[in-house]
C-alpha cells in the first residue's frame, strides 16, 4: 500500500445540488422480473427528531440474485433495465420511499466446499448533514426463512437484529416499513464496512 484513502467529509446540508440529477427511486423498469415492493420509512436522530437532510443510497441484486457488476461471475441472468442502484433523499418530515423488487439470494462466505447463500437484502449507505462518514446498514425482508441462517444477521446480537428487518405495513400494495434510527436505545445496526 503506497497511499491512504482520502478522508471522508460530511455531505453537508446542500447535497441535493449535486445529487438531484441522478436520484432513481423506482428500480422496477418494464420487463424487470420479481416481486415488487415499496419500502418506506423515516430517518430519525437521537432525540427522535426527523432528519430532513439525509439521503439513502441502495445497492442490490436482481430477482435472480445477480449483481449488475463484473465481479459477480455467477451463471445467473442479468436483466436489462435493472441497475440495482437507487438514491433517495428524505423529505421535510425525514421520510423516504422507494420501489424495487425483492432481490434473490447472493452467495455469502463459503464454508469448506459448501455454498452458503445470504438472505435477500439491500445494502444501504446513509449520508446526512452531521454524518462525517456515510453509515452502512442493510434491509432484510420479513418472514424470509433464509434470515435465520444469514451470515450477516448472525453477526448481530439477537436483540438488535430486528432493526435490519423491514416490517410489512400494507399487504395490498406490498409496502414495507424500515426506519433509520441514528442514535439511542433503538439505534439501527450500522456496519464497519
Amino acid at each position: 500500500m503506497s497511499r491512504q484513502a482520502t478522508t471522508s467529509q460530511t455531505v453537508g446540508p446542500f447535497f441535493s445540488i449535486g445529487f438531484d440529477w441522478l436520484a432513481p427511486d423506482d428500480l422496477t423498469a418494464p420487463g424487470v422480473s420479481g416481486e415488487r415492493v415499496i419500502i418506506e420509512g423515516r430517518v430519525l436522530d437521537g432525540d427522535g427528531q426527523p432528519v430532513p437532510d439525509a439521503t439513502l443510497e441502495i445497492w442490490q441484486a436482481n430477482s435472480h440474485g445477480k449483481y449488475a457488476h463484473p465481479e459477480d461471475t455467477q451463471g445467473k441472468p442479468l436483466e436489462k433495465g435493472f441497475t440495482g442502484y437507487g438514491r433517495i433523499p428524505t423529505d421535510d418530515q425525514g421520510k423516504f420511499r422507494f420501489t424495487t423488487i425483492k432481490p434473490g439470494q447472493v452467495p455469502g462466505p463459503s464454508t469448506g466446499s459448501e455454498k452458503k447463500f445470504q438472505a435477500p437484502h439491500i445494502a444501504v449507505a446513509v449520508f446526512a448533514r452531521g454524518l462525517l462518514r456515510r453509515l452502512v446498514t442493510r434491509i432484510y425482508f420479513p418472514d424470509d426463512p433464509a434470515n435465520a441462517t444469514d451470515f450477516v444477521l448472525n453477526l448481530v446480537e439477537p436483540a438488535r437484529r430486528g432493526t435490519l428487518i423491514a416490517k410489512k405495513i400494507s399487504a395490498a400494495r406490498n409496502t414495507l416499513e424500515w426506519n433509520v434510527i441514528l442514535q439511542g436505545p433503538d439505534e439501527t445496526v450500522f456496519f464497519d464496512c
Partner: protein
C-alpha cells in the same frame, strides 16, 4: 464462487469518528453503539456503475450551464482517482457541488445574505477516463458563515462524491484551497485526527493545468480504499 477479496479498512486516525462535538450537527446524529464489523461479501465488493450515455458531457464545465458567465475567479480543478495501491480508478462517476463566488448555495435552506448568481448552479459530474483522470471547469467558491458556533465560517471548499468500483469504496469528501486562513478554525476540516490525512484534503495550486489569460489550475487527487492482498479468510 471464488473467495471474496475484500477492500482495506482505513488506518487509525485517517477517517473521522462519527461523533466530533465541535461539529454540532454530529452530536445527535452519530451512532452511540459500536459498529458491527462486516467482512466483505459479494454485496460489498460489487457496486453501481454508470454508463457514458447517462453522463452529460457538458456537466464538467460549471461555467457554461447558463446563457452568461458566472461571476468569480475561473478555475480548473483536475486530478486522478486512484486506489491505495496507486492503480487508477477508470470510468467512475465523480460528482461535485459548491457555493458560488459570493459563498451562497443555490438551495432553499441556504439563508446566507449573499447574492445568488443567475449564471451559476454549482453542480457538475463526469466519469474518470481510462487513467482515472477527471477535470472540472468552475469558479472558486466563496467562504461563508454558518451557525455552528459564534463567528463560524466555512473555508472555501468543493464537495466531491466518488463511487469507485464497489459499494465498499464509496466516498464523499470536500476539497479545500491552499493557504486558506480559515482552515485551522473549521471543525469539519479538523474532524480527522491524522494531520497528514487532513492536509491531503487541500488541493495544490498547479501551473501545469493553469490556462494563461483564463483560469488558475488546482490539482486534487482522490484515493479510494484498495484491495486487500489476500482473500477474506473463510469462516468456519
Amino acid at each position: 464462487m471464488a473467495n471474496i477479496v475484500g477492500y482495506r479498512r482505513p488506518s487509525p486516525g485517517t477517517q473521522p469518528s462519527y461523533l466530533h462535538p465541535p461539529y454540532r450537527s454530529s452530536i445527535k446524529r452519530a451512532p452511540e453503539k459500536p459498529l458491527v464489523y462486516l467482512p466483505h461479501t459479494l454485496s460489498e465488493v460489487t457496486g453501481p456503475s454508470f454508463v457514458p450515455e447517462l453522463i452529460d458531457a457538458k456537466a464538467c464545465d460549471l461555467t457554461r450551464r447558463h446563457s452568461g458567465e458566472p461571476l468569480g475567479e475561473r478555475i480548473i480543478v483536475s486530478g486522478r482517482v486512484l486506489d491505495e495501491n496507486e492503480r487508477p480508478v477508470p470510468h467512475t462517476l465523480v460528482e461535485v457541488w459548491q457555493a458560488n463566488a459570493a459563498g451562497r448555495y443555490l438551495h432553499k435552506s441556504d439563508q446566507h445574505e449573499a447574492p445568488l448568481d443567475p449564471n451559476f448552479t454549482g453542480c457538475g459530474h463526469a466519469l474518470t477516463d481510462a487513467e482515472g483522470r477527471y477535470r472540472f471547469v468552475t469558479i472558486k467558491p466563496g467562504a461563508y458563515p454558518w451557525g455552528n458556533h459564534h463567528n463560524a465560517w466555512r473555508p472555501a471548499h468543493i464537495h466531491f462524491s466518488i463511487f469507485g468500483p464497489a459499494f465498499a469504496t464509496r466516498l464523499v469528501t470536500q476539497m479545500y484551497f491552499p493557504g486558506d486562513p480559515l482552515l485551522p478554525y473549521d471543525p469539519i476540516f479538523n474532524c480527522t485526527a491524522d494531520e497528514e490525512a487532513r492536509q491531503r484534503l487541500i488541493s495544490l495550486f498547479d501551473w501545469e493545468t493553469t490556462i494563461p489569460q483564463q483560469a488558475l489550475g488546482y490539482r486534487f487527487d482522490i484515493v479510494l480504499s484498495g484491495r486487500e492482498a489476500t482473500p477474506v479468510e473463510d469462516l468456519k
